[in-house]
Amino acid sequence: MAPNTKASVPDYKNIPHAHRVPVNHREVQRIFSKLSRQSLISLALQWLAKKNRDFCRPYLLGDEDTEEEEEEEDEQYTPAQSLEELQEIYKQLAARKGGKREVQDRILEGDWRKGISMYQLATADIQYLLDHTNSLRWTAKRLARVPAKSASLDMEVTNDSDHLPRFQAQTFMANLARELTPLMKAHYLLTKIKTLPMTILRVYMHDSPYSTEASLATETSSSESAKAVFFIWPNGSPFVYSSIANHLGQGIGDDSRHLRDIVQQAIPKAFSRPSARYQLAGTNFTTKSLEALLNYRGSGKSNSAAGGWNVFQDHSFSQNALDFITSQNEKSPTRTHTTASGQSSKAATTTSGRPAKHTLDLSESSDSKRRREVAEGRFGTSALPGDGKGLERFEVRIDDAFPQLSRSESHAADENNTRPANHDRRKGRPSLLDRSLEEIEELEDGESWVPDVRVVFQGSHVFAGVRQLVEQGVVNGETMPGWMTGEAGVTVAAVKDGRIKTKKGHVLGV
């Protein structure tokens, strides 16, 4: 088929979709062993579809005559005659039940025994990501315009002004490849997702000067580090989420982190046009859940109305302007929560996940009803367990001065260092919360002592947990500061005077 050039020469090409890696390559084995049977079959059918065939040539009967006749006898899978026949086979597999091993083996040892193309590898990886939306850790960034000299002109909102960076797939890919190819070889796959409003870019980083198939097959780096990075653009918003595709038990080496940074730096450049330059700005938001990302940094109404403010995004605060019915409409959503008698109260308590014994305690019911109402006032309709928008880590630094008269601290302090906080810090990557030099200086000028106190909330759904604590009376819902409801929409923050500090020129959650 392709003229197999013996000599590899360093070049300036991308790795094309059709290049294949052998089936026993580590990446192939890792990705394929994780996919479910259903996903494998739907992927195989996608690869066999007409528009993808160029990138995913299966092993057919016509291909086998050339070299390896000696393997004939122990062949498990007879190659199919044609692509149509293969499609039929996979449709049959989809129709009946069976183990996933059957499909995985058929793909790796049968129909694609000659190797899995980069395109297939990438689509399989993305499929896994979509099947398990909580599998990677994402950091949300924002594409921000570098302010031009004539700032007043940029700010004008006219009939045809654009305030978001324009995303044109072709131009973007060409620009990105131009930025990256001198530094490394990479395979790119940029795809729209049908069911979620986002575009995914997967970059498989190949740290080698060659872009040949042979160089892909040799496992260059001995380290087990991840080689792919993902970037996601939610449609119609200025955000970018980035993540390293590391997998269970696989560390993120410095190499892959470095490669990701290279790609990340190239992204705003690829977006920029003459007279409209962009840079990536942090948004203090990191989470594992894609749903949460779309909720806090997405393209909808929810970005700047998190926590209790989300009553403004659904219709629980403002009914439709033509909805005149007060009697029922008003009560039906709340009645299940507020009536103290029998059935409905029990239903409400079980949905909020509290132990059922509380309903037996009738003396407590007015108290707990009040707490539930307070929680509803503070959290609105957010922070419910099982809403899929759970943040698993929330970290704040308390920047208030140490109180003069000693009171018992109710928070579990994570680190409590004395003032020149940085010299005995354990070695490791610097945290976003480390004080900057100016902040330290500012603190030293002041007369009060401000310890470096950090509070970390961790769990499967942090704010649902806080809400439950409020409902159970562990946390006082009325005096609780607003950042504990998650209304700031960040996962890392500094708090002063009970409010999240905003940096200068930095707009929270916009």
Binding site: L164, L190, K194, S304, A305, N320
Partner: protein, 308 residues
Amino acid sequence: MSDLEALDNDIGDLRTKIANLQTHRANLSAILLSHPHLPARLQQRPVLHERNRREAAACAEKQSKRNTENVYRACAGITAFKVKDPDPYAVDNGNVLGVRIEVSIGGRFIETYSVLFNRPNTQYKNVLRIHKHTIPPCIPLQPLANKWLPMSTKDAENAPEQNLIRFGKSLRKELVGWHLRMEAIEKLRAEAGVLEKSKPTNEEPRRHTIGNVLNAFVSDEESDEDDEDEDEDRNQADRPVRIASIDADAAGREITVTWTDQRIGIFKVAKDGSIDKAIVKDRYGSRDSALSRKAIGRMEGLVQRLTA
């Protein structure tokens, strides 16, 4: 088995019937409570229990408040309201001013957006700052706020000029324009017969699939694709060329039309819904300038102009 199913069906029917009757009842009670003479009559007529009278009066008053609010909201389009921030550490004691923008299309109100302001500056009580909002990011909220609601710079002596009315007006214009563009694109799809299958069906809601791969062109390798393309060509020679898909970006500012013969047209839409830039290329990359010229105009007639 069939008995069970029949029973289930019956129960389902009854449930829908109950729901219908309940909405009917709610409707009737709203009408009754809105009766203009009701409060007066409640005052005059003798009642058995004074408590019942009070409750009825409260209901009627609530209804009349709702009626007033709705009339304002429906007629004005932008309304203001006050809320209290429950956060005990909120600035300005948690006083928050809300501005609500209604968007109506085709005779019904389809969406409500709110912007919530607080007053961070204790010195200048009239300086508003956006606290929270539910404006989607494809609306230029921040540029509008910079223009109409500038915050004071450090060394400024007096409060900056803010104009909430102009801000509200221009924000509403942006929001309504966005909804109208999206609506127009949906109509274009219907016109071209490429309506997306009425929202993903509920059978497999959790299953995400990969959509169009956007960079199929990055492949440097010249693969021998001609054989398959020729098949397609032959197939398509029989069928008339039609529009295969209409895509648009989230802000409704750019429409991409794909034909079955792999021509692609990209149309830039201004905020008022007029197409001001257009380009159509066929599959070999050469421009179809006649079609591009035809596309310029209002976006509503785009499909008609393209197919004519």
